[in-house]
Each structure stands twice: as C-alpha cells, then as structure tokens.
Amino acid sequence: MPIYLHDCECLTALGKTQSTWSRLINGEVGLKPVPPLADSTETVPLALTGDLDDLNPPRWIDPVCELIQSITQYPWGDARHPIVITSSNFGIDQMLAAFQTQNTAYHGQATVTKAVGTIANRLGWGSNRLIISNACVSAQLGMIQAARLLEQRLADRVLVFSFDYLSRFVVGGFHALKILNEDFPQPYSERKSGAIGLGDGAAFAVFSNQPSPFCIEDAATHSEFKHMTGNDPSGAGFDSVLAPMTTIAKDRNFWVKGHGTGTLETGRLEAESVERNFPNAPLVSWKGSIGHTLGSCGLVELAITKAAFHHGLAPGNVAAPAPHCVGQVHSGNLDLNRFDGVILLSSAFGGAHAAHLMTHA
C-alpha cells in the first residue's frame, strides 16, 4: 500500500534543505580536510556543521531541536502521531567524552535512550516512540516502520526523525578501517583506491495515508550477512532490493539516488546492479559533497530529493569525475521533468540494503 510524504527537511554542512539542494546544484563540496583525532598530523574529509570537539552541551541538541520546530502543529508521540527515531550515532560523542574525561557531565546524553529522551523532553514529545538503529540503513528502516504503522491504521501521521553528528568516535573508527583517509570521495569514479567522506546530518519526514504529490510506492530490504563490512562479490545483495522494483517501475522513467559513498568495490557492485536492473536510469550520489551522513543518510537524501522534484532539477554525481564504473552515472544536474520517480538506496554494515521507490505526481 502506498504512503505519502508530506513535510520533509534536512540539515547538512551545506545548510538546510533549500540551501543544501542549491549548493549541490552549484557543485559545491561541503567536505573539508580535518584531522581525524586531536593529535593527528594527517587530515580526512569531513562535512561539519560545527566544531568536532564541541561536546558540552552536545553540539547536536540545539540544531536538531530547531530543525523539528517547523512541524510542531502535530501532537507528536500521542496515540495517532507516533515517532520513529533513527540514528547510528545518537549521543556516542558523549560516551567517548565521558570515558576519556571520567566527567559525569557527559552522562546525560551518552546512551541512545538518554539522547532521545533529552530531545523528546525538549520538544514535549509523547511516549509513542520507537527507536531504530541499523547502522547506515537506519533512516530507511524508520521509513519502513512508518509505512507499517500507516498500513495497520495505527497512525494518522508518522514522524520519522534522524540525526547523526560526527565525533572522534565515528571518525576515528572509519579512519582505523582505512576507508576514511586523506583522499576525498569520488563515488563511482574509476580510481586506484577508494575513500569516503563523513558528514553531519539530520532530517525529518512526515508520512500519512493522505495523498500528497510524493508517493512512496514500494520498499525493499535485504540483509546479506556475508561479511561485517563487505558485500557478496556477485552483487546479489544489491540485486535483492533492486530486482523486485523492476515490475512496479515497468514502462516508467526512474532515476536512482545511489548510496555511493566512494568505496571502490561496494560502489562498483551497487552501480553494476543498477545497470542490470535499471539500465536506462541515471545514477547519482551526493556523498562526494555532503559526505556520508551515516544512519541518517536515507532521510537527509530524501529531503534533498523532494527539493529536487520541487525544482525539477536534481544535483548530479557531485565531485566525482568520469570515467565512472558504469556508463549511466550522471555527472551534470539532472532535468527531472521526464522522470516519474526515483529509487533511493542505502547500504550498511552486515550487508544490509534498503530501497524505496518514490513517485512524484
């Protein structure tokens, strides 16, 4: 059963939705070189909204609460207005600070529920909340929960809210995995080695059964469980979420907003799967500019996508020059007037994949 997208906004290093869309259209790169740890001599590409070491109070509280203020007309968290909160980080910056300083001042938002509780108290949310966290597909799983709540007629409107702010915890971790390095990400580009960039991101989306111009027609998920940080080398994991959508998309024109972090192997597998299943669909990623906003990327990029449909123009595959691993990667801005909709992809640790098919009336 389709559900409909209503309000949807994001916050990235390039500003709120309109600003982020506009600066992506202009090809601006939000990523800047930043030392991954306080005493590092090298730098890694991060798209920050503030100072990485701004810890007390947590630098995410004010901006994420301010972002949500635009939709306070609904009694969020009551029986008919449930909230799904997603992230892969929550208050993990506070956990690291608490451990390193042994200062209890950081305890107030150091766990998932404490971080969410702080936001909920600030915004006066009710208790009808569900917290979902599955690494970098978290936000798209939140959208799936919203669809289930609406399909079961358990809600009038569902708020899905996600926030992921970078900290030394997550930057240090990806740097240790060596996929966050001195190189800037170039999603889907043919190059000798891969690299990702990370970005701050927060977003919300309101869904209901009441029609709007933006319809989520379909969703698909798959968990490979092949490797903790890698994918099945056949690309079968990506096919598992894309192939089921070919039927519903038949005889219509779609473009694909890929996950496209900048890793070589995963990027190639994703792009080749798009090529197999949607050979005529232009493929873009925006993580070469705003970075990978981790658990929130699905919702952040949904907000940018909605803005793109509003303007009839989507940012192309920013900051990632040709040649690309498949021919349908689209470098320039994309005229959306000839498209019926978009397929939105995310992937995560454990070989988790999520896809949504959104059409625009």
């Binding site: 740890l37 005493d39 009551d78 029986a79 008919r80 449930p82 892969s88 956990m95 690291l96 608490a98 451990f99 390193q100 209890t104 305890h107 150091a110 766990t111 998932v112 529920t113 009710g126 208790s127 009808n128 569900l130 917290i131 979902i132 966290s133 599955n134 690494a135 799983l141 799936i144 929960q145 289930r148 709540l149 399909e151 079961q152 358990l154 030394r168 915890f169 240090g172 971790g173 990806f174 740097h175 240790a176 995995l177 060596k178 998920t221 798959h222 968990s223 490979e224 469980f225 092949k226 490797h227 903790m228 940080t229 994991g237 598992s240 640790f349 454990g350 070989g351 988790a352």
Partner: protein, 220 residues
C-alpha cells in the same frame, strides 16, 4: 487484533557475565575465526538462536538497549589508536550481525529496536506489525564493567528468543496485540532481562502500552 504464533522460544537468564567454561563451550558452535570476535552477548544469541532455521524471507527484530557493550568498551579503551575491529563490532546491531554473518544465513530484514523499560514491548510491537511471515524476535544485553558502573550499560548478561510466525503449525504459544489508542501503560510490562524467565516458566502475561494497545502472551 494481530496474532502471531510462537513456534520456538529460548531464554538465557541474567548473570553478571559468562563463566570461562560456558564461554569456551559456546564458542564451539562457531568456526574458530568467527568465535574469536564474539563477546558474551553474541555467544548467547548464537546459542539461543541455534535452532532458528532462518529463511531468506524472514525478518529479525533485535532488541537491545546497549548492544555490543563489551566491544564498545574495548573500542573506547583503544584510543588514541582506535581499533577497527572493536569499532565495527560496537555499532548497533553488531552482536546479531556477528552471529548471522558467522552462520551465513541471509534474511529479508534486520530491524534493531533500542529502548529502556519498554524495550521488550517495543520489540514485540515491531514484530507484530511486520508483514513478514516469520519474525525472529531476539533480545539481550551484555555486562561491561565501565559502562555498567556508570549506569551507561547493562548490569547483567542475558538473551531471549521468540520465533513468531503467522501460521498455526507447531505453535507452542501465541501473542496477540489489540490496538487501542486509549490504552494506558501497565505496570506489568516485562523488562527485557525478565523475559528469559518468562519464557522458561511458560508464564502467561498481559500488559499494555500507552496509546498503542494490549498485548497477551499465552502458552499451549
């Protein structure tokens, strides 16, 4: 009203941490390379889910407030040279990812739910509204010294498992969820750490969540 049948259930009751002999025994269920990465929670999850027989179209719901807390603590200790292994294992839902990767059983979806006093109810709610025929609903925590001592982690190590299906075949019990927006939160919502005892005793239970509705668990 939504109804799901319980076809398999298992519970590992809370203890501070696994005894060395128990840990050694549980590691034998995995190949040595995978076993080396498994802390107490994934070891317990692996044990209570060993008869799960998951299929490609199944869904997993994983309920944990703190997830891979031992990996998290080891990762925190690894600074200023962060450990890539402990980093990846500390990310939610690391403990169940580790088990499923070790067993190589793909699934339709893994929906990890995080919560506190209503975590079990939240997980059941997520499982009940899933459209998938089979939902492996699993939960647990692992004690980790530093986080527990600062009330940032679990005091005990435990795990539980319920295989919930839509067909009545081989049912050992059933769970019903009756939506009711007027429902109040009941005092009888079981904490996640009391679920192993609930499962092992076969005790029937009713409880409600504010604004959501009423849950009932019965055993055959």
């Amino acid at each position: 009203m939504l109804k799901r049948y319980i076809t398999k259930a298992a519970g590992a009751v809370p203890q501070r941490e696994l005894a060395p002999e128990q840990r050694k025994s549980l590691r034998k269920q995995f190949n040595p390379l995978a076993a080396r990465r498994l802390t107490d929670l994934p070891l317990l999850l692996g044990d209570i889910c060993k008869d799960a027989e998951p299929n490609l179209d199944d869904e997993w719901v994983f309920a944990s407030a703190f997830g891979g807390a031992l990996s998290l603590e080891r990762y925190l200790e690894s600074f200023p040279t962060p450990s890539p292994l402990h980093f990846q294992n500390s990310i939610q839902p690391g403990p169940l990812d580790l088990v499923n990767v070790a067993r190589g059983k793909p699934a339709r979806l893994l929906m990890p739910v995080v919560g506190d006093t209503e975590l079990f109810a939240d997980a059941l709610f997520a499982a009940m509204i899933s459209p998938n025929q089979v939902v492996h609903t699993v939960g647990g925590e692992e004690y980790s010294p530093w986080t527990a001592s600062h009330e940032l982690g679990a005091e005990h190590t435990f795990a539980w498992y319920l295989k919930l299906v839509q067909s009545t075949e081989a049912a050992a019990g059933e769970i019903t969820f009756t939506p009711n927006p007027s429902a109040k939160k009941s005092e009888s919502i079981p904490l996640s750490e009391s679920v192993p005892e609930l499962i092992n005793s076969g005790r029937e239970l009713e409880f409600s969540q504010a604004g959501r509705g009423y849950f009932r668990i019965v055993w055959n």
